[in-house]
C-alpha cells in the first residue's frame, strides 16, 4: 500500500511529439484514481510511465516515497491489467498467475497458497488447468486480475481493462473491480476513455486532454462543477449543452444580472432543462430562465426520453423523465433553474456565477 506521486512528469517522443506535458498528481494511499480522456490524451502513456514500460523524459514518479524513475517494471512493486489481458497463451491459468511469483523466487507452497486464494476470490478455482484460449472473455479478464492480485503489489495499474467486453459483462466486471479494490485496499490507477466507467469507479477522477490534466476531484464534484468546457462536455452523457448568451437571448431567455463579467459560454446539463411546469417546481426560490427550442427528434428510451432540439444553429439536448408529454415537432418552451447554470470564459475556464445577493441588485 502506498501513495503515488507524480511531479512535473513529461514524455517527449523521439520525433518531438509531446505526449504528456508536465503532470502533477498525488494518488492517496488506498484510493482508486481514474484517468479519463479521449484517445491520444496521454493517459495510457502516463500509466505506462508509472509502470516503467515507457521512459520518463523529465520529472519524477514516486511510489511509496521512493523515486522509481530508473527502476525496471518488476522492481517497482506494481501489477498491471492490460487491455487485451496479455495472458500468456502457452501457459495454464495457474501458471499465468504463478509466473510473476516464480520470477521473484517465492517459495512453491506460498505460490500455491496465493494462487488458490486469488482463484477462490475470482471464482477461477475450476479453471486453473485451462489455457487462456479455452476461456470466455469475462474469465480471461478475471485471470488478468488474478495475475495482478497474487503479486500483492503496492499499486494496481489498469489499462482500459474492460474495453474488450460486451456492455453487459462490462457492467458486471466494473462492480467486481470496485468491490475487489475496496476489499484489498490497494492504491490503484485506472485508465479508461469511458466516462461512465470513470464516474462509477473513481475515488479520485482525473480528466485529461492533450497531455494535460483538465481537472482532478471526486467524480460528483467534477460533474457538478466542471472546471472547463472540455470537462463539461466530456463528463456526463448526453454531454452538457454549451450555448452563447446571444443564442439564449435570441430565443427569449432573460440573462440580465445572471451573467458574470467574463462569461462567454453558458452550460446547462440536459437533465437541468425541462418543461416550464416541471422545472418551476424544482427551482423554488432560485428562479428560472426560459427559452424556445425547435424540436428535431424525440427519443424515448424507457425510464427517460431525450429531446434533440435546436437553438438557432446550436443543438440542445433535453433529458425528460419517463414518457415525455411533449410534441414531436414544432417549438417548445423549456426552462432551467438559474442556480444550475454553468459559466465559462473565453479560455473555456469555469467562471463563478454571480452571487445571489448581487443578482437581485442587477
Amino acid at each position: 500500500m502506498a501513495t503515488v506521486a507524480l511531479k512535473t512528469v513529461r514524455k517527449v517522443y523521439a520525433g518531438g511529439m509531446e505526449a504528456v506535458k508536465g503532470i502533477d498528481l498525488t494518488v492517496p494511499d488506498g484510493a482508486l484514481c481514474v484517468l479519463v480522456g479521449p484517445s491520444g490524451c496521454g493517459k495510457s502513456t502516463l500509466l505506462r510511465m508509472i509502470a516503467g514500460l515507457e521512459e520518463i523524459s523529465s520529472g519524477t514518479i514516486e511510489i511509496d516515497g521512493r523515486v522509481v524513475n530508473a527502476l525496471e517494471p518488476a522492481e517497482r512493486d506494481i501489477a498491471m491489467v492490460f487491455q487485451n489481458y496479455a495472458l500468456y497463451p502457452h501457459m495454464s491459468v495457474y501458471d499465468n498467475m504463478a509466473y510473476g511469483l516464480r520470477n521473484r523466487g517465492t517459495p512453491k507452497p506460498e505460490i500455491e497458497r496465493k494462487v488458490r486464494e486469488a482463484a477462490r476470490m475470482l471464482e477461477l478455482g475450476s479453471l486453473l488447468d485451462r489455457r487462456p484460449r479455452q476461456l470466455s472473455g469475462g474469465q480471461r479478464q478475471r485471470v488478468a486480475m488474478g495475475r495482478a492480485i497474487v503479486r500483492d503489489p503496492k499499486v494496481f495499474l489498469f489499462d482500459e481493462p474492460l474495453s474488450n467486453l460486451d456492455a453487459k459483462l462490462r457492467g458486471q466486471m466494473r462492480v467486481e473491480i470496485r468491490k475487489l479494490q475496496r476489499d484489498l485496499g490497494v492504491t490503484s490507477i485506472y485508465v479508461t476513455h469511458d466516462q461512465l466507467e470513470a464516474m462509477t469507479l473513481a475515488d479520485v477522477l482525473v480528466v485529461m486532454n492533450s497531455g494535460r490534466i483538465e481537472q482532478v476531484g471526486a467524480p460528483l464534484d467534477v460533474y457538478e462543477e466542471p472546471a472547463t468546457t472540455f470537462v463539461a462536455s466530456f463528463i456526463g452523457a448526453p454531454p452538457m449543452n454549451l450555448l452563447t448568451p446571444d443564442h439564449l437571448s435570441a430565443v427569449g431567455a432573460v440573462l440580465e444580472g445572471l451573467l458574470p463579467a467574463d462569461a462567454v459560454t453558458v452550460g446547462i446539463r440536459p437533465e437541468d432543462l425541462g418543461t416550464v411546469e416541471a422545472k418551476s417546481a424544482e427551482a423554488g426560490s432560485a428562479g428560472l430562465i426560459t427559452f424556445d427550442v425547435t424540436i428535431d427528434v424525440l427519443e424515448p428510451v424507457g425510464a427517460e426520453s431525450y429531446l434533440y432540439a435546436r437553438v438557432q444553429d446550436a443543438s440542445v439536448v433535453v433529458r425528460l423523465p419517463g414518457r415525455a408529454a411533449v410534441p414531436e415537432t414544432g417549438k417548445l418552451k423549456v426552462a432551467a433553474p438559474v442556480d444550475k447554470l454553468h459559466f465559462f470564459d473565453t479560455h473555456g475556464k469555469r467562471v463563478d456565477p454571480v452571487p445571489v445577493a448581487a443578482r437581485r441588485l442587477g
Binding site: L53, E72, F82, Y85, Y88, H90, N103, R147
Partner: protein, 290 residues
C-alpha cells in the same frame, strides 16, 4: 480451411471423382516411379541390372546387397562404407539445421526486441546475403576455406552454411506478431531478456522451429556444391558426393547394385523426415515463402 469440405462440395464436380483420382494416380506414378525403380534395382544382382529391361517387382538380392553396402565397404570410394557416409551427411544436415536455427533466432530476437544504433544496418547486412548464394562466389569462398584450414573438416562443411537471411527473416516476421502487451506483462512479472526468450519466445516459436528444422535439414542433407568444394578426402564425403564419385568413373566394373543401395540410403532419411513431420513442414513452407 475448416468447413470447406462441406461448403466445397457444391462447387466440386458432380461427375464421378474417378477422373481426378486417375490423374492423381498418374501424377503419383511420375513422382514415385524413379524412386521405386531404384529400389527395385537395389534388390537385384549386378548381372540383372546390366541386362535391361528390369523387372517391375523387387528381386531376391535385397539382403545380400544391403548387407554388402552396410558392412562390405564400397570399393569405388576408397573403401568407405555407407555408415560413414550416412554419419557425415547426418552431421552436416543436423548441424546446419540446428546451427542455422540458433543463429537466426538470436539475431532476429535482437532486431525485433531491442533498439540500438545501427539496428537497420545489421538487418540489411543480413538481408543482402540473400543475394550472395555460394554459386556466385565459388572461388574466393574456397580460398577463405583454404586460408582458415577448414578443408576436410566438419566446421568447414557446416559453419559457412549456417548464416542465412531466410531463417532470420522468418523469425523476425513471426516475432513481430507477438503482441507487445505480452512482453509488457512479462516485464511487469519480472522477466528480463533471457527469461522472456526461454519462457515465451521459444515455446511460442515451437511450430516455426519444427517447420524450419525440416526445411533446413533437407537443405543440409541435399547440399552438393559446398561439400564438393571443401572435401577432398573420401572419409569426409557426404553420401551424395560419394555417389557421384561412384557413378562418374562408371565402367564395366561399376558395382551398380551397391550404387542403387547407396542411392536408397541417400533418399530415405530426408524423405522420412519430410513425411513424418509433414504437417509442420507444409505449413512452415507455405507460410515462410509467402
Amino acid at each position: 480451411m475448416p468447413e470447406r469440405t462441406e461448403a466445397g462440395t457444391t462447387s466440386r464436380s458432380r461427375r464421378s471423382p474417378w477422373v481426378s483420382h486417375a490423374v492423381l494416380i498418374a501424377g503419383i506414378l511420375i513422382v514415385v516411379f524413379p524412386i521405386y525403380y531404384t529400389f527395385v534395382a537395389s534388390t537385384l544382382s549386378l548381372q540383372q541390372i546390366l541386362r535391361p529391361p528390369l523387372q517391375l517387382l523387387p528381386g531376391s538380392h535385397f539382403l545380400d546387397n544391403y548387407y554388402e553396402a552396410l558392412f562390405g565397404g564400397l570399393g569405388r570410394v576408397g573403401g568407405i562404407n555407407v555408415w560413414t557416409l550416412l554419419l557425415n551427411t547426418s552431421i552436416v544436415a543436423l548441424s546446419v539445421a540446428v546451427g542455422k536455427i540458433v543463429i537466426s533466432i538470436l539475431s532476429a530476437y535482437a532486431i525485433v526486441f531491442f533498439r540500438f544504433p545501427f539496428r537497420m544496418t545489421f538487418f540489411w547486412v543480413i538481408f543482402i546475403t540473400l543475394m550472395l548464394p555460394v554459386e556466385v562466389r565459388i572461388l574466393p569462398t574456397y580460398k577463405v576455406m583454404v586460408d582458415l584450414g577448414l578443408i576436410d573438416t566438419y566446421t568447414g562443411l557446416t559453419l559457412p552454411l549456417m548464416a542465412s537471411a531466410t531463417a532470420t527473416l522468418l523469425f523476425r516476421q513471426f516475432f513481430m506478431t507477438i503482441p507487445g502487451e505480452l512482453l509488457e506483462a512479462a516485464r511487469v512479472d519480472g522477466a528480463g531478456p533471457w527469461r522472456f526468450f526461454f519462457d515465451f519466445v521459444l515455446p511460442l516459436s515451437k511450430t516455426n522451429i519444427a517447420a524450419l528444422f525440416v526445411i533446413l535439414f533437407i537443405y543440409g542433407w541435399t547440399q552438393y556444391l559446398w561439400p564438393l568444394l571443401v572435401t577432398n578426402s573420401n572419409d569426409m564425403n557426404t553420401i551424395i558426393i560419394a555417389l557421384r564419385k561412384m557413378i562418374s568413373y562408371a565402367d564395366a566394373d561399376t558395382q551398380w547394385h551397391l550404387v542403387m543401395v547407396t542411392t536408397i540410403f541417400a533418399i530415405l532419411p530426408p524423405v522420412a523426415v519430410v513425411v513424418l513431420m509433414q504437417r509442420w513442414f507444409v505449413k512452415g513452407l507455405v507460410e515462410t515463402e509467402k
